[in-house]
């Protein structure tokens, strides 16, 4: 009975995680949540706005070509509760960003976490309460 309950909780928690990109992207498309990516790069713009903020980042690909990535985040309200502000990122900042990429192969993604120039780390925030581990 207990294992069934835990399994059920796990299933619902999984569904919640799955739903996050769906909320985030609005358009019905989704992100490849099974294959998060991590890139190092230079911030070209940090756009703080509803419905979702965006981080624009120049990063070199495997052929040394600079690609400008569009990494969206959750809403400013959610980011603020995760410790962000509109001044968290600035053009020229060297950061490491982890995100789930678009399934289309476009340079678009949904932010999971970022390592700032001073080495501190911020998550992309959470939708709703999360089960305690």
């Amino acid at each position: 009975m207990k294992s069934k309950l835990i399994k059920g909780f796990g299933l619902i928690a999984g569904l919640l995680i799955v739903c996050v990109p769906m909320f985030a992207h609005h358009g019905g498309s989704d992100y490849d949540i099974q294959h998060p990516r991590t890139l190092k790069g230079t911030v070209t713009e940090f756009f703080w706005s509803n419905p979702h903020c965006q981080v624009f980042l120049d990063s070199k690909d495997d052929s040394n070509k600079v690609v400008n990535w569009t990494i969206e985040t959750l809403a400013p309200a959610v980011l603020r509760r995760a410790g962000w502000s509109r001044e968290t990122l600035h053009p020229g900042d060297q950061i490491t960003i982890t995100f789930v990429p678009s399934k289309k192969g476009t340079p678009v993604g949904m932010l999971r976490k970022v390592v700032l120039p001073d080495g501190s780390e911020l998550s992309g925030g959470a939708l709703g309460e999360q089960p305690q581990q």
Binding site: I12, L15, G128
Partner: protein, 267 residues
Amino acid sequence: MRNWFLGSTIALAVALAFLAVARAQTDHSGAAKTDAKATGFDPHDLAGIWNPAPFMQPIGEVNPLDLGGHPNPLPPFTPAGEAAYLANAKFIAAGAVLDCDPFGVSRNFFTPRPFEILLTRDRLVQHFEYYDNWREIWTDGRKIPADVDPEYMGYSIGRWDGDTFVVDSAAYNGKAFLTWQGFPISESMHQTERWQRLDQDTLKIVFTFDDPKNYAKPWSITFFWKLRKDWVMDAHPCTLSAIKEYDDRVNHADKLPGRDYSKPEKK
């Protein structure tokens, strides 16, 4: 003298009994009430910011956040309700959900963002952070007016049944979705909610949806929220200009069409 004393005692006893009955009627209370001093919280004090805890929903119920495209289980649709759901789901999948129409009551509840409760003399007011939607629940004993105009947020009245706050709502305009999946709401929807503050930090609400046009029988969702004493509400209004900018910057970069601004609003 003795008769006067006896008469006065009886009169006082009758008066006290009358006051006790009157107080019970004022509380609308048939059930036992919790002693706030004993539990450390007042179950009738619902004020504060509540953040949803979807993982606490009982297994086996319709999950309003099962957004993978094939929610399981589904509500007990009528044929008309299923057709409306499929049309709504297609509308959502096309990205047309990018609009600023009010969400209606239930979809606001099932959006994983907080709401704040404000208590006034005659109302309990809910402020949903996402898209800045407001709902009034009248607590002054009135009924839902027969001639009220249907609205996205319907018309809601609430009363206490012991430690359970019971809300009835109707007068929905049929234009909102019940959940993010696009489950439909018709103008015949009668929604009942039973709110219980289980402890200092936990609010439980059992929703029952009775909409014979769309659903073959009433069905329920049980959902939970946690009190966030350290939070303040943030601004998240919906504006078409912000949605258009998001389309331009993100959806188009991802080769998605985004919202079609050349077409009129959905009906």
